[in-house]
């Protein structure tokens, strides 16, 4: 529901008379490249601040992996003496002050060290340091599920927009009709029912009706042979429940904000003018009103991405999906700080990239938006 900041008034001027390819060409020539370079440069301070915040947040709980590990060992009746704990801390670099640990971590992210303690201990190059719980390189663990996480998130995001935008347009052009109420209620229900309950109920129904609870993203057969074209259909079938569960929780917000914006736009004078001039209703709605109304939704794209990452965690745990959310949760619980930090950093980078994309899309939607100074 974010409003674009650069817009001065919501009354679109008459669109320039250019064909679409021409407009796209123009757009890319003018200031986009410059703008993207500027934004990419701005990534550096943003990511620096994010990394500080992430490291701080992850360090916030008392204790560290070693103390969590020792507590786990003690609960199994094994005694760990203080010397051993100190030795472990020294090996992992956990005995250093927090800021030193932070700088070492950042150093590791920027360039991979070959002469570190980890290298000597474990004989491998450590990318983004070492995951204590997995006993592997952090990047190794992250990489396992990164592709799938992005794929699943992308599918759910496409579903969200593909479903909610047409519904929003329909609801706004037929305000207070039966369809409007039905779509509102379904949207609200999707937002009102907590994800994990919906997932459990759908799993139960799926088991009752088809005899298969569709848990996890891959069948046994897929795990053995890998996902190919012939079993991709099965993979998509297993995506149905996650899509419904995670997707519907976000559609409500999109429907509500686009509907409200559309209602504002439909009442404006330019719409009346266009109608008086005899422009077909369809053109008015799609070309003028919708284009203006979609603006806050597009600028909220980064936020949607971030809430998808958070929202999918609980669902993924219930449905046993092989995506990053549950790994992050377990890493945070076990205070496996480098792994948790890496996953949060990766997600944050994706969100920041999403925000950049949304800003580019905004400029494309509304030609009056100029990101470089002047030219207003």
């Amino acid at each position: 529901m974010e409003e674009n900041a650069y817009k001065s008034e919501s009354i679109p001027e008459s669109a320039p008379k250019k064909t679409l390819p021409e407009a796209v060409g123009d757009f890319f020539k003018k200031d986009l490249v410059q703008y993207i370079i500027k934004r990419l440069l701005m990534f550096i301070p943003t990511l620096f601040l994010i990394s500080v915040l992430v490291f701080f947040v992850i360090q916030l709980p008392p204790g560290d992996y070693v103390s969590a590990h020792i507590a786990a060992l003690a609960s199994e009746g094994e005694f760990v003496d203080a010397d051993y704990a100190a030795q472990l801390r020294a090996d992992y670099g956990l005995d250093l002050p927090v800021y030193e640990q932070y700088f070492k971590w950042v150093k590791d992210i920027i360039w991979t060290p070959t002469d570190s303690t980890y290298y000597r201990l474990y004989g491998s190059h450590h990318n983004w340091k070492y995951s204590f719980a997995y006993g592997r390189d952090v990047w190794d663990v992250v990489d396992d599920r990164l592709g799938l996480t992005i794929l699943v998130t992308a599918i759910i995001m496409i579903f969200q927009y593909a479903v909610s935008l047409p519904i929003a347009v329909y609801a706004s052009t037929h305000q207070y009709s039966v369809g409007d109420y039905v779509s509102s209620i379904i949207g609200f229900l999707g937002a009102a029912i907590p994800n994990f309950i919906l997932a459990i109920v759908l799993m139960y129904l799926s088991y009752k009706w088809t005899g298969n609870a569709n848990v996890g993203l891959f069948s046994q057969e897929m795990l053995q042979n890998g996902v190919h074209l012939y079993n991709f259909g099965d993979f998509l079938k297993r995506m149905i429940i996650p899509i419904i569960v995670i997707g519907t929780s976000g559609t409500c917000g999109i429907i509500r904000s686009v509907r409200a914006q559309m209602l504002d736009e439909v009442g404006r004078q330019y719409t009346l003018t266009a109608r008086a001039k005899g422009v077909p209703e369809r053109t008015i709605i799609m070309k003028y009103c919708f284009r203006a109304a979609i603006n806050p939704t597009v600028s909220g794209l980064g936020g949607v991405l971030s809430s998808l990452f958070s929202g999918s965690t609980v669902t993924a745990m219930v449905l046993n999906m092989q995506i990053q959310g549950p790994v992050l949760f377990k890493a945070l619980q076990a205070q496996d700080m480098y792994l948790a930090g890496a996953i949060v950093m990766v997600q944050a980078v994706l969100v920041v990239i999403g925000i950049l994309f949304s800003d580019i899309a905004l400029a494309f939607l509304d030609p009056r938006i100029r990101y470089s100074g002047g030219g207003r």
Binding site: M1, E2, E3, N4, A5, Y6, K7, S8, E9, M42, P45, T46, L49, I50, L53, V54, V57, I58, L60, P61, P62, I185, F188, L189, A191, A192, I193, P194, F196, I197, I200, V201, M203, Y204, A213, S249, C252, R256, A260, D264, G267, S299, G300, G303, S306, S310, G311, V314, M317, V318, G325, L328, F329, L332, V344, Q347, A348, V351, V352, I355
Partner: protein
Amino acid sequence: MWKKKQKSNEDYYLASQWTLMGRKLKKHKLAKLSMLILLILYLGALFADFLAPYSLDEFDALYKNSAPSKIHWTHEGEFIGPHVYKLEKTIDRTDFSVKITEDTSEYYKINFFVHGSEYKILGLIPCDIHLFGVSQGSNGGSGAKIMLFGTDALGRDIFSRILLGSRISLTIPFASAIISFFLGVTIGSISGYFGGGVDIVIQRIIEVIGAVPQIPLWMALSAAIPPGISTVKMYFYITIILSFINWTGMARVVRGKFLSLKNEDYVMAARLSGVSTWKIIWKHLVPGFMSYLIVSITLGIPGSIVGETSMSYLGLGIKSPATSWGVLLQEASSVTDVASNPHKLIPIIFVTITVLAFNFLGDGIRDAADPYK
């Protein structure tokens, strides 16, 4: 006749923005219904101790995971009014399976204003009267319970817990939404109104906070809050802290609106007449998009109600015996729970109704606040 019409016109033209909104809101049926429902829910939370037959820590091992109590009207073919039977545990000698059945030899009438566990009305006046409950059996027996919505795994009444849990589920999300509203409007308006370097710094901060996922924040915060304080208090702290994170969305929108509104003539006029910046922001600019702000508050509250349930699922929110709707739903966190005890899904009805009511109320207010309709 004419005079009357003139009078009503006068009323209309002289009415303040709020009066007009109130009038339009009264015409919105769904919003009115939602308001009524919310009023009932909040009254229920206020008088939860009185309405709930049992307190938070009462339990009965016999009633573990039992389905909602069946309310009977006739006993042995004779009408005697609403009553329940005591449950009875029998062990089948052939396969040693435990069966819970109703013991129909003795009936327990449902009485109103019965004595039960002690509580304080509005936290002040000690009292032990509950709206309804079962006391003595027809043959002087005791031990029967009335569980309108069934019980959880420890034999605690879900109906009572829903009522008592609503005190947390209906208030803390509200507080959190209000706090993030004020932070969002204040910081967003500063960013939009002053622009320049202030704007750039605030926007970067918003970007950074928005990019960090919520779950690590929750976990870190709940682990960092010192142990030993009550879980309700801890949850309250977390919610307050989270609302210090959630303001970013609101701030972005407010900033956008301010960027476009601050150059309007009326703002210039106010500035030239020497109105203070603070007053311009709150008296002249904020009312200009009040409809949006109210809607986002009414949408923010259900968001945090649902968020609370997810956090409870992860075991990060409140912990038993203190309760909230999210904690109650933890009992329904696996397929087997749902399949064998469908009554444990009842709290979801309350969550859904509350969220729907807030959303429709927000809708109604949006329509009412729209000055062009």
